[in-house]
């Protein structure tokens, strides 16, 4: 894996994968490639994650870290009870995380179910779009029969296309874990390729595709590594740990192993893929461990919203409390930050 294969990011995923695999994409060629990737030593991986977790981030570094975390959050609501009102409130919080401090950065995106995309876009108004509006934020939608992914291909594609049509900038899809675990890698690959195609807008640009591996169901780090490679080969822009609906969700070792894949993919192709741990990251202290892990694995250039996100709902308020503590010197009660 030392020689760089010149792969153009804009190549169709299937062509690009064929170039990496050295032949047409099939169950057999994918299996040969994925199972030829060096294994993951679970003990070593967990020890490395634990040691990254002992970094002591203080004073000015902590202040920078907290602002960076906020700018990387996908502020999320994924409940059956979601309503347009709830989404409006979430968007307001995303735009003005700390009502008392206008210098507080905005989050990267709001993440909602597909049928709430229109409400989110509407609530954002002129602030819609991380790249298009100044100070704007994106709308991410979960799709493909999230969280289980147990629906027919056509339903999943329709789910995706509708969210994109409603204005979603990012699609968080789930892989078919059943197919993956029974070794039908080609099927998983094809589905990701198809969903990516469903992300194409009329103007030819694509909504960003985040591929959720649901690592809690893949069970082993070797599986996580293979699923990460598979998702990237199939054209995912981001690989994401979890739906948040299955325990365990994001853990530091799992995220580290995915960052290692992203680092290796960059070494191989020169292309940068994003990583999104989601679910279970609730405190600033935990989130800072993730920043350290990113910085020391892929490098600090990954600490930007196009390459790293936190999928979280309660994390933001803990970061705000820590942020207030840094500026005032004492802790506020939870009522000094707003709920969304």
């Amino acid at each position: 894996m030392t020689s760089q294969i010149p792969v153009k990011a804009q190549n169709a995923p299937t062509d690009r994968a064929a170039e990496v695999l050295g032949g047409p994409v099939s169950d057999t060629s994918l299996r040969r490639y994925l199972e030829g990737i060096p294994g993951v030593d679970a003990v070593g991986l967990e020890a490395r994650a634990a040691s990254l977790g002992t970094r002591s981030i203080k004073t000015t570094s902590k202040a920078r870290a907290l602002d960076t975390i906020i700018s990387l959050i996908d502020l999320t609501t994924l409940e059956g009870a979601d309503t347009p009102g709830k989404v409006r409130s979430l968007v307001a919080k995303a735009l003005t995380p700390d009502a008392a401090d206008p210098t507080c950065p905005r989050v990267a995106a709001v993440c909602v179910y597909g049928d709430m995309v229109a409400s989110a876009v509407d609530a954002l108004g002129a602030s819609h779009g991380l790249d298009t509006a100044p100070g704007g934020i994106n709308v991410a939608a979960v799709a493909t029969a999230f969280p289980s992914g147990r629906a027919s291909r056509s339903v999943k594609l329709a789910d995706t296309a509708e969210a994109v049509a409603a204005g979603a900038d990012e699609i968080d899809m789930v892989i078919d874990r059943g197919a993956f675990l029974s070794g039908r890698y080609g099927e998983v690959f094809d589905e990701i390729v198809a969903v990516k195609e469903a992300c194409r807008r009329p103007d030819g640009r694509y909504a960003h595709l985040k591929v959720i591996l649901e690592t809690g169901e893949l069970n082993t780090y070797d599986n996580v590594r293979r699923a990460s490679w598979l998702s990237i080969l199939a054209g995912g822009d981001f690989i994401k740990t979890s739906t948040g609906k299955v325990a365990p969700a994001a853990t530091l070792p799992v995220t580290l192993s995915m960052l290692e894949v992203v680092r290796d993919w960059y070494r191989l192709t020169g292309e940068r893929i994003g990583v999104k741990p989601a679910g279970g990251i609730r405190t600033s202290k935990d989130a800072i461990k993730y920043l350290v892990t990113v910085a020391e694995t892929t490098g600090v250039e990954w600490l930007q919203p196009h390459l790293f996100r936190f999928g979280a709902s309660s994390l933001l308020n803990d970061v705000l409390l820590q942020r207030q503590k840094l500026s005032t010197g004492h802790y506020s009660a939870p009522d000094y930050v707003t709920i969304d």
């Binding site: 993951v40 003990v43 970094r55 002591s56 700018s71 920043l291 930007q304 196009h306």
Partner: protein
Amino acid sequence: MTLTTPSALDFLDYAPAPESRGILSLREEYGLFIDGEYVEGHGTPFATISPSTGEHLAMMAAGNAEDVDRAVAAARRAYTTVWSRMPGAERAKYLFRIARLVQERSRELAVAESLDNGKPIKETRDFDVPTVAAWFFYYAGWADKLEHAGLGPDPRGLGVAAQIIPWNFPLMMLAWKIAPALAAGNTVVIKPASTTPLTALLFADILQQADLPAGVVNILSGPGSMGSAMVEHPDVDKVAFTGSTEIGRGIARAISGSRKKLTLELGGKGANIVFDDAPIDAAIEGIVSGIFFNQGQVCCAGSRLLVQESIHDEVVERLKQRLTTLRVGDPLDKNTDVGAINSASQLKTITDLADAGEAEGAVKWSAPCVLPDRGFWYAPTIFTGVSTSHRIAREEIFGPVLSVLTFRTPAEAIAKANNTPYGLSAGIWSDKGSRVLAVVDRLRAGVVWANTFNKFDPASPFGGYKESGYGREGGLPGIQSYLTTGPTDAVTAAKGSTK
């Protein structure tokens, strides 16, 4: 892709996070610890300094032969009148108490060790001091079970043990020596290394706190000549030494023909073997901890990297990438990965050998890092293109310098790994269990780690083959070298009664 904020790009410049020194209050001067009290030595007191800055820490008393006489007499008295008569369960209580006091005072001991030795606080806090406590807890458990462990009839201590320990893990080596000796019923005269005596004398304070009977442990700081006096003292029954092979040889010569029992834990030139099917990220971490842990000043360091030729370039590239993230600097900063070299003389040894490596044609690469201008420092370094005949592949460097060699087949890896006068440690990295077991079987090394490196547990025996010494520390073998069994030897009994 323009949204990278400058703040995020600076993130890796972690702000200083120094551990507070407030918890440690050092005296200006530390005496020798003999017969339960700090006393003045008969030698010329010497200063102990912080190798990371050159800062003066404290004056240490120096013992000489006369002090050794006093200490051995105190140890003999304590052995005869108290410690050898005390039931194992009672000895255990003292060891448990010491272990708990070490835990209670762990932060203080960690700070002192980092100051005096130069190693990072993250190691003293997370490794050295917890291991010290673990060793006392473990051997406390053995003290009342010796009769039931199948060791033979009437297992009991040997008498007075003279112990000499090195500067690389000062307090941990002290624990490795004292805990099994006391558990078996011996009394102790111990000499810490002259560059790192501080924590041993702080430990004396813990012994007072634990109310350990006077004379059971005596701690003498002093020069090498005092160590010789300990080894040669006629009333010593057991000698235990950890340090260089050269001095170990001298000790073995000095006590040959005497009744004294001896264990030696000496140098090493450990081979870390990476096969092409290794879990590569874990292997890189293992290579790093194998040679840069404690600045490479570890007798069982994986100082020879044997990497399969097919993955050599990739491993070296990944290794260099990883080394650029190592933080070298203030040992008291919680984010420091690599601290200072222990002494000027050790720095010179490292520098000389590295120069020899370059002169012999190996290619040197050092991690880009800014070294402090005061104190003793050496940047993490790897040599590629090393041949088995190079000095850097044969001699123990005892510093943060890795020699990279290649092999083509398992047989060649085994042959190269064993091609050293030493035989202390080795490591194997492979995802294939059968290969790991087959190779382990043929390595002449006292400890072999598979898919990990530098892991220690009190229950696991540690020691070497060939010029790495003999005897084992840790586990049941570790206490056996402080025991005798069978009927009481008439000569020893008579001797004991006259003292």
